[in-house]
Assembly symmetry: C2
Homo-oligomer: 524 residues x 2
């Protein structure tokens, strides 16, 4: 059985020669015998309960197929891939259940609660923080609740610019349905091709156009959620109000631990008539970051705004299409590459571009023209494919991200870099970019590549823990848009405190008293 | 004892003659004997507990003074004023406690929990939905927790554009402290002169510049809260993240029921160099509303954007300075008046103004020049003073507000107007404006004026209930920015459902197990 790879096989390719020269290659991880030999464990769930599930959601909606269960095992973090490559499929669900409606989900939860079956909501399967690997102890078995049948445009209100989407819709499917009406959502995370609407909401995703279109949670107007304690509908009356706490914000980021999101109502926008992406060069990461800050604080953000640090600019990861082709030595520009993108009507793009160009020029940036921007746009979803190729030749590659206030950016950058380099040792490349900005702060997204060595998983877990500790010690957030899952759970308490954790537990008890929903995720 | 009036006595004046002609005046409500004769009830709280409070927060921080207790009784809704004018001071707190620090508040809550004393956080006292009139039953007494001593600029991070403010700071005080650093918050609700930072956060306030600067909850980056179960600090690590549910949004709008907000960290901005306000005329409320929608959906919002309906335009309440002066007959323009305001740097104001002017002209608006805008700006905080003068001459005047999606605006407008006119009968004036807009919807703010009659309070409560029912039946939100308090509590369930209410109760149990915090507020 070949290792699970990212995405569409026709998009994947062998590792470009240029990359081989950039990293120290040791072990071909894909050839471990385990990956080829180990089968999915047999379902633990008693046959009677499987029959019961069939009675609840229908015969066809209950799938025991080994291949599907294998593909519903864990997510797409490098540890997930390494475990799979090492033949460890111990987190495979016992059964995949594919409900067709909110009512199906509600009925499934009632049955699962009664029979103490753990339920793991599954959207696109692109989780990178262990959100699909539940604790099994104390449960009769684990159901992967695959939302792939709930993929419709439920409602559209063009006057109010809102659309209600099924949670199983993947990014391109949602955009295609909206495009039929001349509309779009505008949420393009790197996982766009495969991640789902429900997953975006459950994990507070943030996309590559967040400067212009906002984080996914900020796009959400309404939610419908099935919980073991009953249905919740929120945001159906108004965009915002003063009707007490905003409970939408409890379910956004709840990672399947409070309920299963069955409908998401989002703000939509007209399809942009114009899309222009360009490059800017900055003498340093700090100079480029200061320029981003000036734009954000001046309410002058373009649609896309990204900045690679010196290392990332040098190896050209900012342009994943070009990696290995036009390699490091080919980069004349040096310094730090910023990608600036404008989308909208011709007049709005022209006005914004004029104002941003003026500001960036004043701030010391040098325009590089459209070519770097177009190259970035062409390769914007390619990095995970590249990761598979790197793993194939024994390179350990993984990403992590964080967010903090502008005044803390440099300290955080230095601390995380040092933690990763310290943990992984000589020959480790640590690259970084800023891809999400706010008036008050920005994210930092790190990519690490190093020789895998004999125990790549253990090496990475140690490095990741060191990075997490450095993030907390720097006073930053443990995750900007990858969510908590099980991997970050141990570091959540510094974010929200003991009382905050107690509140999450109280909400969990109220909504999921038996604790069947994605057990072990999110809550420390 | 004279009735409690709004604000600074030097700003109040007799009712302009023009207004007397517009409304049917009957009873001089201010002259009821009760208002002059009834004293504040004696404190119920046993002397031993008062001594205990002194031991906890200091001798000087515990105030039994009748006048202060009277001024800490209820808020500033018309029912609050009518009860006061009728001599009903039954909701007076037993004692006013004025803590000086977060630690004081934490200690006070511990003592109050131990001795079952109800605690009502008090900021500016401008609540209009019964948020300061707690249930007393089952408590040893009621403490008004006056935050007026916690009025400092706790911290400023000019690089990140954040400021941490004490909860007792009133609007102008907060702005003055920030202005020393060339910064501002930009939150200007009608209660601006007296309302407090903590109150803005606890009630999800929204100001007259919300089009440009956003709702108060959207300005909040961080919160520090004292709860009976301990301290909560949120938002200290980053502007936004994916660390699970956003618990800030549980405390925003919690109206003192979950904890006492002791620090608020907000996004700040540079003081605007330019402020320009102007008027636009629209042939109808619908035409003006459609134009607002186009601006919001085109991401082309000015700083201030308001639209009065035909009635409000006619009696000139959109220009409170002019009411009675340039009265209805004086209005040549007719149709509906829109106020459009621009604030910022000269270049940003010029660019935005050019784009908005172009859009509004294309959409059918007629520019009225700066005069109506300047007049609005000069009188923007005057309406509550006018209300006192109207009550003096027997006119019942009150406001209520709601919010919905754009496609539901007309239906909501018609339904609420009909409900108010139906309940209050002939001779009732119902005015409306839109003062807060979103890409997906807008608020509707109604002002009602009618002859008070023999039982003005009972008449209003009946009309308010009818309006609430109409709002719920229309599928809109029961409040956009006035909060739930006790007045809207009976209508919260349709907003968030039974499960949503159960979640609020679960959070309340966790944070305030004895239920001492503002009992009876918010949660149905």
């Amino acid at each position: 059985m070949p290792p699970t790879r990212w995405g569409d096989p026709t998009h994947a390719g062998p590792l470009p020669d240029g990359v081989r020269d950039l990293v120290g290659l040791v072990l071909p991880l894909s050839d471990t015998p385990a990956a080829a030999e180990v089968a999915v464990p047999a379902p633990h769930l008693p046959a009677g309960l499987i029959d019961g599930l069939r009675a609840v959601v229908g015969e066809d909606a209950v799938v025991l197929d080994d291949d599907l269960r294998r593909r519903r095992t864990r997510g797409k973090s490098t540890p997930d891939l390494l475990r799979q490559r090492a033949g460890d499929l111990s987190d495979a669900p016992d059964v995949v259940v594919r409900p067709g409606s909110h009512e199906d989900v509600q009925a499934l939860l009632a049955y699962a609660q009664e029979h103490r079956i753990a339920v793991v909501p599954f959207g696109g399967g692109t989780a990178v923080t262990g959100g699909l690997a539940p604790d099994r102890e104390g449960f009769a078995g684990v159901v992967s609740l695959d939302l792939g049948r709930m993929r419709s445009l439920v409602a559209l209100d063009p006057v109010s610019s809102t659309a209600t989407l099924g949670p199983g819709l993947r990014g391109p499917e949602a955009e295609a349905l909206l495009a039929e009406h001349g509309l779009m959502l505008g949420h393009y995370p790197q996982s766009f091709e495969f991640a789902s609407i429900g997953g975006f909401a459950a994990t507070r995703s943030s996309g590559q156009s967040s400067a212009g279109y906002g984080r996914f949670d900020a796009m959400v107007v309404g939610l419908r959620v099935a919980t073991p304690s009953g249905e919740v509908r929120l945001g159906g009356t108004a965009p915002s109000n003063a009707c007490g706490p905003d409970l939408r914000e409890l379910f956004l980021g709840s990672e399947g631990a409070f309920g299963v999101i069955t409908e998401v109502t989002v703000r939509v926008r007209p399809l942009p008539e114009v899309k222009e992406y360009e490059g800017w060069q900055w003498p340093s990461f700090a100079a480029g970051a200061d320029a981003m800050r000036a734009l954000a604080q001046g309410d002058l953000l373009p649609t896309v705004l990204r900045l690679s640090d010196e290392n990332e600019t040098a190896i050209n990861l900012a342009r994943p299409d070009a990696i290995g082709g036009a390699a490091a030595s080919d980069q004349g520009a040096g310094g730090c590459l910023m990608i600036v993108g404008y989308e909208g009507t011709p007049s709005a793009v022209a006005a914004k571009k004029a104002a941003v160009t003026d500001a960036l020029t004043r701030l010391g940036g040098s325009p590089l023209g459209a070519e770097p921007g177009e190259a970035w746009a062409a390769g914007r979803y390619n990095a995970p494919y590249l990761r598979d190729s790197l793993l194939d030749v024994g390179v350990l590659v993984e990403t992590l991200e964080t967010v903090t206030f502008w005044s803390n950016r440099e300290r955080l950058y230095t601390a995380v870099k040092a933690a990763l380099e310290g943990a992984l040792g000589e020959g480790t490349m640590v690259l970084c970019h800023i891809s999400h900005v706010y008036a008050t702060g920005c994210s930092l997204y790190f990519t690490v590549a190093t020789a895998g060595g004999e125990q790549p998983l253990e090496r990475w877990l140690k490095a990741k823990a060191a990075a997490n500790d450095a993030i907390v010690a720097s006073g930053a957030s443990i995750t900007h848009h990858h969510a908590v899952g099980t991997d970050h759970r141990g570091w959540l308490t510094p974010e929200i405190g003991d009382v905050g954790v107690a509140v999450l537990r109280a909400v969990k008890r109220e909504l999921d008293p038996v604790g069947i929903l994605n057990p072990g995720v999110l809550i420390p």
